[in-house]
């Protein structure tokens, strides 16, 4: 009694999860709730979404506030990780798994079962075409068989009362296509879950010439006490190359506590050090629209740079992967208050040139002229106000310029801005030139840092899903029967066929076979309709 009752409940649950109806309901629910999630801004400040509610429903601020708190409690402000959205995805996965398991035996049977000869009655029920050929079935059989074989069908034959029947099939494994497609969705989901639990997403800014051993993930805003508490951890992490247990030892605290703190502060230790050797950005012409930006990175482990990971160039759409962690070029900016190193190429009127590395305030001499100069000032984006006063117009290095002050003996003091973008400013009154080659140490590179051990599974699932879908939609399981019936020393050849997809295409192929064999009958063999399409 107990046993059968359990059985039926299990059966009911099983049936519930095998139904396509559930799938369709879930499609509708996931799509519908996702729409809400695109209207409300996810993980945004409350004010933003309250404003959105005011705008959409034209309600007062007060009402919007209460609506907001209800929606907030329901998880709509971080909807895609809310418990009920996760549940929907989980049900969806269960539906897929159980539906697939339920159907697989039947699909396998359809695949494995060899095609059998048709009875006369079955033959009459499927559409067919035919022609009359000279000679007895025994003779005709070979030429018909050859044509069938040439179309890629391996056939078996059965002797019948008045002749033969050839039966064959092709593409039976294409029935697995949709199974593969469904299964791949699961792989993608599993890959995504692995990524969520064992991976991280972070961001770090590395100034030129410096290195970092950690990245930051998004957290709730920190209090100022937490900010202060965070600094020694970061400092120690820098020393231990991002090794959490070493850091705990150095700081003399329990590793678990340290890890908890790091989690709260959003610190992601890398376990090695990443150095930015250089950064460069190019713009389209003299516009401020970036054309390309890249960094050169070096991985440092145990105090030494790792072979193969020295001065590796990364740019947008071309990241660097080390030890399962990927660094993406994502942003750039200026280091506040950085001094920088300037590489200037000095050329005299007669063509004698010399390259100098200088800091701000350094003095140097223009070759051959004996003219003395000072590197007096620097601006990353120099512009001039209408009155001619120079100012820095941008937070990016769009128009780097250096101010040079000259103090030649017996000459009036002269100074001028030399701008990298405008070569006409490089030439001095006496004909010698100063070319700004490079400015180093004032820019920083913004790196998106990601670890995702599940990504390969996601990609694998994507590939197999595409293959599965293409098989499911563009290939079919075809069956072909050819009956050879003796008719007054001649043979009537009748073709019958089924296909689970694209039957007209298959019929055209059969027409071609018939054309190869000889002229098709003017009189149709049987005036049956082309029914029995899907099998």
């Amino acid at each position: 009694m107990e046993e059968t009752k359990k059985q039926t409940i299990l059966d009911k649950v099983w049936d519930f999860f095998t139904s396509v109806t559930l799938a369709v309901v879930l499609f509708a629910l996931i799509a519908g709730t996702s729409m809400v999630g695109t209207i409300l801004e996810q993980n945004a400040e409350p004010e933003k979404n309250i404003n959105i509610l005011v705008k959409i429903f034209r309600i007062g601020h007060e009402t919007a506030h209460s609506v907001y708190s209800i929606l907030e409690k329901l998880g709509f402000m971080d909807m895609y990780s809310s418990w009920w959205f996760t549940t929907l995805l989980f049900l969806f996965a269960a539906n897929l798994i159980i539906c697939s398991i339920d159907r697989l035996p039947r699909i396998l049977k359809l695949i494995k079962e060899p095609v059998k000869p048709l009875t006369d009655e079955q033959f009459n029920n499927i559409g067919k075409k035919g022609l009359l050929l000279k000679g007895k079935p025994e003779k005709v059989k070979d030429s018909v068989g050859a044509v069938v074989k040439r179309s890629g069908f391996n056939f078996s034959e059965t002797k019948e009362a008045r002749g033969y029947q050839l039966h064959s099939e092709k593409g039976n494994y294409t029935r697995l296509g949709i199974f593969v497609a469904h299964f791949s969705i699961l792989l993608i989901l599993i890959g995504a879950i692995i990524g969520i639990f064992f991976g991280f997403k972070g961001y770090v800014e590395v100034p030129e010439g410096e290195s970092r051993t950690f990245a930051f993930k998004r957290t709730a805003p920190l209090t100022s006490t937490e900010e202060t508490d965070m600094q020694p951890i970061l400092k120690t992490l820098q020393k231990t190359e991002g090794n959490a247990s070493e850091t705990a030892k150095h700081m003399g605290i329990d590793e678990k506590i340290l890890r908890k703190k790091m989690n709260r502060y959003g610190i992601l230790p890398l376990g090695f050090s990443i150095r930015c050797d250089d950064f460069s950005v190019e713009f389209y012409g003299r516009s401020n629209m970036p054309k390309d930006y890249k960094s050169w990175l070096t991985v440092i482990k145990g105090g030494k740079s790792v072979p193969g990971f020295e001065r590796q160039k990364i740019e947008v759409n071309d990241p660097l992967i080390y030890d399962g962690i990927t660094f993406y070029q994502s942003n750039y900016g200026l280091v506040p208050g950085a001094q920088g190193l300037f590489l200037l190429k000095l050329t005299s009127k007669t063509g004698v040139s010399e390259t100098k590395q200088l800091h701000l305030g350094d003095r140097f001499v223009i070759p051959e002229t004996g003219m003395e100069a000072t590197l007096a000032d620097f601006s990353p984006a120099l512009s001039f106000k209408p009155g001619g006063t120079p100012f820095t117009s941008d937070k990016q290095m769009t128009n780097p310029a250096v101010l040079i002050e000259f103090s030649g003996i017996g000459q009036t003091k002269y100074s001028g801005w030399i701008m990298k973008r405008y070569p006409e400013t490089w030439t001095l009154p006496d004909g010698s030139t100063i070319e700004p080659m490079d400015i180093w140490g004032v820019e920083l590179t913004g790196l998106q840092v990601r670890k995702d051990p599940g990504v390969w599974l996601v990609y694998f699932g994507c590939i197999s899903m595409s293959i599965g879908l293409f098989i499911a939609f563009f290939m079919s399981h075809k069956k072909l029967w050819v009956k050879l019936v003796e008719e007054k020393n001649n043979t009537r050849v009748i073709f019958a066929l089924t296909a689970n997809k694209n039957r007209p295409g298959f019929e055209r192929k059969i027409d071609k076979m018939i054309a190869l064999l000889g002229r098709p009958d003017t009189k149709p063999v049987v005036t049956g309709k082309s029914g029995g399409g899907k099998r």
Partner: protein, 371 residues
């Protein structure tokens, strides 16, 4: 001739073709039909030439700005799929190509009256919103072959979905019997709203004719400001009334359209078949190009393959609607009308993914803004 002149010619030709196809529905003269097809082909050829011209124009711009780029890379980077304007043009091109294939394969012209208005709407939208037609340099994130494949395949899929929208709608028109029936109400209201929106946008264009630099401004200051959202409450009320009356008229006299389509040699089964086949071609292409290549590009460029940003989420919603379509055919009692409604809704989701997200929701995708 420059590409913009050629685009102008093809736009005018398609709108002419739309009018003639609609005349063909009304008069059913084979001469009119042949004219409609011929004009469509002329439009298609001039659009093809325009796209190629545009390509060479942006090729020379790219090589000027980036002399170090190799030939193949330059050809890829200057492919005319770089902003909203170019992608809409490509969408129309695919749609007309798909339509012409169907017209020749099924030897039936009556679809024309339902497909060309979509092309017309898309092209009219380009002019109404006055989106930038400039060839602009690509920012680094957009310099990606994955993105190129993603955009191209997405729009091929969207074109197949647009075709299934037309045939699905025709199917509903043919199949719905009574005025109180949900599927009848659905098709009359959908068609009514479609025409009302098109007309309202036409009024906006006539009234303002301004170059709108940014989608926000378009929405806030111009869209429907000549009609529904007019400063003058009289105009606004008249607009709402006119729209309601119009939709009511479509609902009241929809059966006339049914009679017209019914008298053409076109069977509901054939429409159902074309709807399914278009989606069966579009779905795998959209899965691979729209979702997967998009995810790979995001992964390469931003370091996340999926971030639930509105554009991504709406592609997923669209995908789910079409999965809904494919599976609802397996349900008992879901053949025919209900399935056709899903096909129509699918394309509404496509339009939202494509335009609604850019216009109404903001996202991480810098790509595709009206600027």
């Amino acid at each position: 001739m420059s590409s913009s002149q050629l685009f102008g010619i093809s736009t005018l030709t398609y709108i002419l073709a739309m009018i003639i196809y609609i005349m063909y529905l009304a008069f059913r003269s084979s001469k009119i039909g042949t004219t409609a097809t011929t004009i469509t082909i002329i439009g298609f050829v001039s659009q093809t030439i325009a796209i190629i011209t545009r390509w060479t124009e942006s090729y020379s711009q790219w090589t000027m700005l980036t002399p170090e780029s190799t030939f193949i890379l330059s050809v890829l980077r200057s492919a005319p799929l770089r902003n909203l304007f170019e992608s809409l043009i490509f969408f129309v091109w695919c749609l007309i190509l798909g339509y012409l294939i169907i017209e020749f394969k099924y030897k039936n012209r009556s679809f024309g009256a339902f497909v060309t208005p979509i092309a017309g709407l898309a092209l009219a939208f380009i002019d109404i919103s006055a989106m930038s037609k400039e060839i602009e340099p690509l920012v680094p994130a957009l310099q990606s072959n994955w993105l190129l494949a993603h955009v191209m395949m997405s729009f091929i899929a969207y074109a197949t979905f647009a075709l299934s929208f037309s045939t699905g709608l025709m199917y509903l028109i043919l199949k719905a019997e009574k005025r109180t029936e949900p599927s009848y109400i659905f098709w009359t209201v959908t068609t009514g709203v479609f025409i009302v929106v098109l007309t309202a946008m036409g009024f906006d264009y006539l009234k303002y004719r301004v170059v709108i630099k940014n989608p926000d401004i378009l929405i806030k200051s111009f869209l429907f400001k000549a009609s529904f959202l007019s400063e003058s409450s009289v105009i606004s009320i008249i607009s709402w009334l006119a729209a309601s009356v119009f939709i009511f008229v479509v609902w009241r006299y929809g059966h006339i359209l049914k009679r017209i389509i019914g008298s053409l040699s076109i069977s509901p089964d054939m429409l159902d078949e074309i709807t399914y086949k278009s989606i069966a071609i579009g779905f795998p292409i959209f899965t691979l190009g729209g979702l997967i290549f998009g995810a790979i590009w995001a992964d390469q460029a931003w370091g996340v393959y999926w971030s639930w940003d509105p554009k991504e989420t709406w592609s997923l919603i669209t995908w789910f609607v079409y999965a809904f379509f494919l599976h609802s055919r397996l349900l008992r009692g879901w053949k025919g009308r209900k399935v056709a409604i899903v096909a129509v809704l699918g394309f509404v989701a496509v339009i939202f993914t494509y335009l609604g997200v850019n216009l109404l929701l903001s996202g991480l995708h810098s790509y595709g803004g009206l600027e």
